[in-house]
């Protein structure tokens, strides 16, 4: 989870949504990336990949694949899920990011009319 937070900080520095992710096998990191939220899409994708266990930082009450819609209930196998690991650190990074606007999104209608 600490490595995931480092990746998230890198994403923040690159003006991307600060979410990091590592895949481990027998205690070793086998893959890592950043800017993946455990949203409903990702939670289902992880099921499609037959992953064994998912551990995440903070809950996502807008899109969360557990909080908003518990995706695991639709899959026979499912995976073990643990949330709120180093949640404050994760939330801190997200708050930093959302202080600025998403640079990739088009201007909102409200903004344009100003």
């Amino acid at each position: 989870m600490k490595r995931a937070l480092v990746l998230a900080s890198e994403a923040l520095a690159a003006q991307e949504v600060p979410v990091g992710c590592v895949f481990t096998l027998n205690g070793n990191i086998v893959a890592e990336s950043r800017n993946i939220e455990p949203c409903i899409m990702c939670a289902a994708a992880l099921n499609n990949l037959n992953i064994k266990e998912v551990i995440y930082g903070c809950a996502n009450d807008r899109f969360g694949g557990k909080t908003v819609l518990d995706v695991n209930t639709f899959y026979d196998r499912g995976y073990k899920l643990t949330g709120n690991v180093l949640a404050d650190e994760a939330m801190g990074l997200l708050k930093q990011f959302y202080k600025g606007a998403n640079p990739n999104a088009p201007d909102s209608k409200a903004k344009k009319n100003k």
Partner: protein
């Protein structure tokens, strides 16, 4: 007045409080093993002697959204109701004009044609047993009546490459993004153009400006089978305007069969879903 202050209806605001000589006091779930008389004495003492009798009645739990529901709820208890013209139109059979219906059917036929192509490519037999293994989709820009992209399933070789995911990635590639290198066969595109007279293309836009297509904003997706949770949420992220699907996905479908993702209010985008082609 006093009653609304002291015993508010909270989640049942759509109910009118009074029906002729009857008045709603509280849901029976509010009573914790006490009688209604005790409940009133505790919460609104000043009204403890004015009721002739009490009874338990069934009332509409959810607010009526369209006239048809309102007529039904009225039989139980009066509700507040303000008809929404767009919703009324949606639930009537005349939402799409005959011309529009022909267009939707045509694009669904294109989907079927791609499925046939996929079955040939992947050597899948299109009997019912093989249907689980095929799925195809077409993304259309309805403003210019043109196909932005087409895609079919590659889940046998990549567990995340469901047709909708590939289609979204293809759309991203028209906007200088995308990560997968799935190529659409020229032969298939020529075949579809000749057979259905459809156009492929994207709206003209200035590449340096933020105007112009953004993800799937304003686009419609036609897809053979109801998309799963992963694909449906990807279509939310992509801001797809409307989804048209043909066959229910009873085990994994997320737009009708297991859940209706488009009705989850916390999500930041809500598309419209249509089915019933068969």
């Amino acid at each position: 007045m006093t009653l609304n202050e002291k015993i508010p209806l909270k989640d049942l605001q759509h109910l009118k409080r009074v029906k002729r000589q009857n008045i709603i006091l509280c849901p029976i779930s509010s009573l914790n093993s006490e009688t209604i008389q005790e409940y009133i004495e505790k919460n609104v003492g000043e009204l403890k002697d004015i009721f002739d009798y009490f009874q338990v009645l069934e009332v509409p739990f959810i607010a009526p959204r369209v006239t048809r529901q309102y007529q039904e709820t009225k039989k139980y208890w009066p509700c507040n109701f303000h008809p929404n013209h767009y919703w009324e139109k949606l639930v009537r059979d005349s939402f799409f004009s005959d011309h529009e219906l022909l267009i939707h059917k045509k694009y669904m036929e294109v989907v079927f044609e791609i499925v046939k192509w996929q079955a040939t490519c992947l050597q899948i037999k299109l009997c019912d047993a093989g249907l689980q293994d095929v799925n195809a989709s077409v993304v259309v820009d309805p403003d210019i009546n043109a196909v932005v992209t087409i895609a079919f399933d590659h889940r046998q070789t990549h567990p995340l490459q469901h047709t909708a995911m590939i289609a979204i990635d293809n759309v991203a590639r028209t906007q200088n993004g995308g990560v997968w290198d799935s190529n659409i066969s020229d032969d298939l595109m020529i075949n579809l153009k000749e057979k259905f007279g459809i156009n492929f293309g994207v709206r003209d836009s200035n590449k340096n400006s933020k105007e112009g297509p953004y993800l799937c904003t304003g686009y419609n997706m036609y897809i053979l089978r109801e998309p799963c949770h992963m694909c449906s949420m990807a279509l939310v992220h992509a801001r797809t305007k409307r989804i048209f699907f043909c066959i229910d996905n009873e085990e994994k479908g997320a737009l009708k069969s297991t859940v209706k993702l488009q009705t989850i209010s916390s999500l930041n985008h809500h598309f419209e879903v249509f089915t019933g082609f068969l």
